[in-house]
Subunit: 463 residues, 2 copies
Amino acid sequence: MTDMVPPPSPLLDRIMAIVGPRGILTGEDVTARSCDPFRHVPPGSPAIIRPASSEELSRILALCHDAGQPVVTHGGRTGVAGGAMAGTDDLVVSLERMTKIIEIDPVTQTAIVEAGVTIEAVQNAAAEHGLLYPIDLGSKGSATVGGTIATNAGGNRVLRWGMTRPNVLGLEAVLADGTIVDLMNRFLKNNTGYDLKQLFIGSEGTLGIVTRAVLRLAPLPTTQNVAFIAVPDYSSVLELLTSARSMQQLSAFEVMWRDYYAVIAKHDPQRCPLAADQKYYVLVETMGMDETADEQAMQGFLEKAFEDGLIADAVTASSLKQVQDLWRIREGSELLVKEMGPFISFDISVDIRRAEEFVDTVYHQLDAQFSFFKAISFGHLGDSNIHIGVHIGPDTIAREAEIEDVVYGVVRQFGGALTAEHGIGTAKRDHLPSHITAQALETMVRIRNALDAERILNRKMMF
Amino acid sequence: MTDMVPPPSPLLDRIMAIVGPRGILTGEDVTARSCDPFRHVPPGSPAIIRPASSEELSRILALCHDAGQPVVTHGGRTGVAGGAMAGTDDLVVSLERMTKIIEIDPVTQTAIVEAGVTIEAVQNAAAEHGLLYPIDLGSKGSATVGGTIATNAGGNRVLRWGMTRPNVLGLEAVLADGTIVDLMNRFLKNNTGYDLKQLFIGSEGTLGIVTRAVLRLAPLPTTQNVAFIAVPDYSSVLELLTSARSMQQLSAFEVMWRDYYAVIAKHDPQRCPLAADQKYYVLVETMGMDETADEQAMQGFLEKAFEDGLIADAVTASSLKQVQDLWRIREGSELLVKEMGPFISFDISVDIRRAEEFVDTVYHQLDAQFSFFKAISFGHLGDSNIHIGVHIGPDTIAREAEIEDVVYGVVRQFGGALTAEHGIGTAKRDHLPSHITAQALETMVRIRNALDAERILNRKMMF
């Protein structure tokens, strides 16, 4: 695989001296990779540097810093905001050789890992000790601990366990100038100075490269109950959510607008246990430790909801197979592609009291702006997070900016968030200044300048 | 109360023009206050400035910034790390007139408040909507939202709901130069740029003054079950903790070393339901929503623990009165004062696998260093947090530095944390550099310089 010919650059020569031939990919080993999970966008970078340790990375970044060489960091390259895009002036650094699971401890319920390890590998190792690393992503087989920390990844179970941020107790990061900052805290409580790790979580690799982490684990749930519910109106969805929150086992509350459910029902009717004649479809999931009590809790929740007239119809599942089948309704992105062709996807947060009005307004304005459109809406409503997909015909991609202007205009009008969980990357960089205050942006610039005045790290990301 | 005579300073004159006479305290209104919750330490500051709004505070800080006038922020002044200490060169700013609860919303389960409101006032307002703000502090009647955000306050129920940090969704802060930064996010998920609020949480007012906040609320538990347990050895304590963690209702796991329990039993035997003949005493609490299931969970936990031989003796409580009585064992600080006289208290985190060895080592080294000592140990073991009180006789306070050198030496040896929840303030400032790496300290300095190069805010705090 590896091109053994020394690359034709004094900087790369010096880097080669640090990492050895296994530590540099060039040629087809670079161009065969993609910076985008959906289409092939090879890195423009002449090489991919693969340090084997924090110390190697530190020396590499010190060289790049001295040379003014911009660096783009690659994790699992599963992000959808263009955070892995690398141009010809960039040098890509990947931590794919730093995948050690250093320790899983069942007493402190922590994992110590290198940043290149995948989420799935951590979860599998934790499960052997009866523990859960609760970040739940479709891409968990590729997404890395480092990448998910850099992007503060979310997923389906944020309602219960939070995004990546609260699940990271400590980390080690290498700054743009090569300084290694050891913040490998293992404690739930530690107020010894600024909590610097928070700087690196969610800053998309612009303030430092995360090389190791201490993760907080949870007891592995032994029960999983799912209800799939047809709901006649939005106020009933909100009442259901409030009621569901009283179940301490609640682990997901996913809402699908009828347009979403109808697409799944059209292309794979087998998947859909309920008629597509209601306005909303809700997937409620609990995960717990007590089979009887957890099943009773879900049954009690559903009975009360029926009595209160919140539910048109519902099915439940508790076997793994049935549970997976119900989740497949929510995870029907391949059917969306089939129905919608090219579409622009949005990942916004909005005040859930106004989410119905928000989506209606988006559709109304798309209708006013374009001669034709199709849209689907769904999301992690328990987290305020809605995903919308918009298609306006064959020129959907060409007119992406117009579609974004419509949707983000409504987001601003409703005081929503530009991105809930996908991040800014390169894709939303131009939109950021119109979704936060000038004072907030200026403060972000001050922080970035304090740690990377030369903009060595992920130069084109975020702002 | 308010001294209406204009204070004799051009800067104070200008501030008076902003805040009006109610906005400035001078003379006895200043000296009657204390910067320390345990002994009377009046502020040296000639005045206490009390802005009525973020805008007033912004104008005040802009003036102070221009004049190079250092500012010390006062919340409820309940902190025990000297974070409210103000010298004659300082000007004290208090947000005590900014106490509005702007909104409590049961659908999004959020509270929007001004920073001067007390934790108790927020909790009472939330409870009216069936909601809980879960930060649990003995000082909650005085401690403010702003002060607890600045210090990332912890307390008894961190194991379940986390410290202050994860319970803050958004905030507004005023920077040293008067810039108002609006970060009033209301969403569980928001990756729109750096999560700047994290900078202000736990930075003890050195990066900005928090003026408003969006707090995350939880459904108010309706059940509370407490078990008070005598445990023969430390390995059984750890097994109990792992077992207790499987109860999703678990809200506290407090451990008292025998020396602590013996003091309570000596001075108030009525308070103590179990003989003081075991090595450890554990208070396990659950809070939930289902009376039957929650009581069964606690009973099942205890029965299994008895079967496994982890427990010497135990009592349980579920009525409010009984629950409070058992908590009074853990909250016996007035009896500690009676027994110990003056003592130096420590608030450290340590790997719980080695907590017994850690405490034994501390005692051993105190014994080697001093001709006489008494110590008590207890803490939030579920959070890795141990409090130790040390008395070495009448010169305990005079020899504080020697006692600290012994204890903090062992903390370093065990890789523990200098402070778990109390913070650095002025009290631990000199110890900070020997408990974090030089690179971490340098990074903190870079961040502080980026936001407050002139060191206007809490100049003497932290580092």
